[in-house]
């Protein structure tokens, strides 16, 4: 599979992404890596915000809340004055077990 990197990447982020892609990585290291990627993403978002007094909202789905979004939160909530967070719980399923039909409503 080919991989394309966005403009946000650097050597550190590439290393983190390679860790995620490594199938032999232990769950704890995977979780830690995901949090660190979240922190890097948080830094990238911060770099694009001109006014730290503005309202900022971070929204994520439940599967990203514990690690990726937590990493972003670590960076954003310390720097931004008006910061809010929302976590959406969704449920992925295939109605009548039809493989091509997938839906993930927020519950």
């Amino acid at each position: 599979m080919t991989r394309k990197y966005s403009d946000l990447h650097n050597d550190d982020i590439r290393t983190l992404l390679e860790t995620l892609a490594d199938r032999s990585v232990e769950p704890e290291q995977y979780q830690d890596t995901m949090t660190r990627i979240g922190e890097s993403l948080g830094d990238c978002v911060l770099a694009k915000i001109d006014d730290f007094n503005s309202n900022t909202y971070l929204a994520c789905t439940v599967e990203d809340a514990d690690f990726l979004a937590k990493g972003m939160l670590n960076r954003l909530e310390n720097q931004l004055d008006k910061f809010a967070f929302a976590c959406f719980w969704n449920q992925l399923f295939s109605p009548f077990e039809l493989e091509d039909l997938k839906v993930a409503p927020i519950i």
């Binding site: 449920q91 109605p95 039809l98 997938k102 839906v103 519950i107």
Partner: protein
Amino acid sequence: MFVDDLVIECDDEILLRHFQLKNSLSINWGIGEKSICDDFEKQYKLNEHISKKSDLKLVVSCEQLRDKLNSCIPENIQNYSQVIYFCKETSFDKIFKKHEDFRNAIKYLCALDNPEPDKLECVAKVLVGAWFDSDKSKASVMEVITKAQQLSPCYIRSFNLQLKLDPEVENILNNIEGFTYKISKGFLEWEFEEGLNEGILPYSIDSLQFSKFKEKLKEKQPICFDDLEVFLI
């Protein structure tokens, strides 16, 4: 049957609505046997034979083609034939944007008054699933909807507007500070502290799952939102 991709029959009407779906951009009414025109004419005669009226629609996925074909409907089938447009898209979200009437139909079937796109998509996909899982040689619309309603989540409205909460459950919920709720077309929509936390139970209040939810509340008797939240999610 000659025009048979979809046929809708209402029990109390003598009209049969037939739909023929065509994606090709090069179709035309044609001449002679097996042409679309011929199929439409034969379908009309067949329906006439069983004392039914006909409303025959050719469905295409290009608006220009619809206009072109509508402007040249052969005279012999003009009285009962029409060309309509329905987009060929890969997601319901895109279909909803192009077909307001279709979106409104799904919205009518949705349990929420102002559904977000994810709920509309869920209703549509659960219905499609139920349709695929039904005997399509002759499926009742209500049977397909009822089948879809068995899934959870489905967010398909209840048609029983008399549904009410058990008074004991009502009492438990009413006594939780900061918690408000309403029953919307058979589903329980809730909110805590003016939107700090909110949701809708993914099953209707006349479902077996709601009975279980109800029994748990009666057993545990939650007195604050923290105690209640585990049953809501």
